[in-house]
């Protein structure tokens, strides 16, 4: 029994994950699932993988939980200093560049795929994908994590440019729900964060309220619910 237990308790925390960010007309929407695993054990079924870097820039984290947290801590620190020195909010591009530099220069040590997204007054809503090797690419939408594999075909067909906020949010929630359905390492709830000129809005989409797909069974009241 001992070896099995250590597999659960000592394996590094990994966020199997599905993360994505989409640019819409006026801002960006970031979305993520909420499953953090150690091996096959779900260490946290309601984790928050969307981290704040500044008032106007947020980060989706995937891969090693430790690595992604450390990178985001460093970048938050640099951006904080930068904002003070500059006297105005940092741009999303700057945030992305800092994340990229850390990812690239430490590529042999890190295992984390990140998506930086936010709003600034110069470029409006922007999404930057920074996958494992430390490359940085500005995209109209980006996906990451193990669950993203199941979304390529879907998004090829479903994504279109210049969506409204409602359309974009529906797309994000549906995408993550699809990935959760197929990817064992993704699950839980769907969290979304909208960033635009007016500010930031966090939303929570409960797991049992997500749309159902092929062969999925509707959730039923849990027999565990004590009365």
């Amino acid at each position: 029994m001992e070896p099995m237990a250590s597999q659960w308790t000592e394996a590094p925390h990994s966020m199997g994950t599905t993360i994505m960010a989409v640019e819409y007309d006026g801002g960006v929407i970031l979305g993520a699932d909420s499953r953090t695993t150690t091996g096959v054990y779900v260490a946290n079924r309601a984790s928050d993988k969307i981290t704040q870097l500044t008032d106007n820039v947020y980060l989706c984290r995937s891969g090693s939980a430790a690595d992604s947290q450390v990178v985001s801590d460093y970048v938050r620190y640099f951006l904080n200093q930068h904002t003070i020195q500059l006297g105005r909010p940092s741009t999303v591009k700057t945030a992305g560049t800092l994340v990229k530099e850390l990812s690239y220069q430490n590529k042999s040590f890190l295992e984390t795929g990140l998506i930086v997204a936010g709003w600034d007054k110069y470029d409006g809503g922007s999404v930057y994908g920074i996958p494992l090797g430390g490359t940085m690419l500005r995209l109209p939408f980006a996906t990451g994590g193990s669950g993203s594999s199941y979304l390529y075909g879907f998004l090829d067909q479903a994504w279109k440019p210049d969506m409204t906020h409602e359309e974009a949010e529906k797309l994000v929630v549906k995408s993550i729900a699809l990935a959760i359905a197929r990817d064992g390492a993704s699950g839980g709830v769907v969290r979304t964060v909208t960033v635009n000129e007016q500010g930031v809005e966090r939303k929570f989409h409960a797991g049992d309220k997500l749309p159902l797909f092929y062969e999925e069974i509707a959730p039923r009241p849990s027999p565990l619910r004590a009365h």
Partner: protein, 216 residues
């Protein structure tokens, strides 16, 4: 030697009255205006070699910022860094302060800006600035200009007139006018004023001088 800089509504114009010390000098040599980055330029007054050192420092800072933050350095930030360095050289006994002031002109996302960094390390943002021998007269002339409504094209002519105006024919030798601009017309890139516009400016300045001389 006088250096003048003005901030017009669509950009910045820098001009230098470069005194020619010898007829043997090739025209266009001994440059006083240097590009610091694509979107910023610096004109030096005073010791030329000290000025070059400041420019080198500014170029390094601008390049460094670009590598680190992925964007062109905001002009105010660049000015702060150069001023910091100039001030550093006033703190230790083994260093001497820089023997030149720098007029920094640039165009970033917040619009065109003009700064002047003095040897003490003090730096301010200006609408118009002048350093060097003829600065008092130059400043008086600049104050008469309506810079908020002036385009850089007009600004080039105005700066040329000012520099020709402050040049002391009696005491100083011949001079060469060196000018640069960074404006919408130059696609926000720091560059030497195009030859045809420079010629036009020189012509206008010479005519203005003659007019003044004839007036009684």
């Amino acid at each position: 030697m006088t250096v003048v800089g003005i901030r017009c509504k669509d950009g910045v114009v820098l001009g230098v009255e470069k005194l020619i010390s010898s007829k043997m000098l090739l025209e266009g040599s001994n440059r006083r205006i240097h590009a610091v980055d694509r979107h910023a330029g610096m004109a030096m007054a005073g010791l030329a070699s000290d000025g070059r050192q400041i420019v080198t420092k500014a170029r390094g800072e601008a390049s460094n910022y670009r590598s680190f933050y992925g964007e062109e350095v905001p002009i105010g930030e660049l000015c702060d860094r150069v001023a910091h360095y100039a001030h550093l050289c006033t703190l230790y006994w083994w260093l001497r302060p820089f023997g030149s002031s720098a007029i920094l002109g640039g165009y970033d996302r917040d619009g065109p800006q003009l700064y002047m960094i003095e040897p003490s390390g003090v730096a301010y943002r200006y609408f118009g600035a002048a350093v060097g021998k003829g600065r008092q007269a130059a400043k008086t002339e600049i104050e008469k200009l309506n810079l908020t409504d002036m385009t850089c094209r007009q600004g080039v002519i105005a700066v040329a007139k000012i520099i020709y105006g402050v040049h002391d024919e009696a005491k100083d030798k011949a001079f060469e006018l060196e000018m640069s601009w960074i404006c919408d017309e130059s696609n926000r890139e720091h560059q030497r004023v195009p030859a045809d516009l420079l010629a036009e400016a020189k012509q206008a300045a010479k005519e203005a001088q003659e007019e003044d001389m004839d007036a009684d």
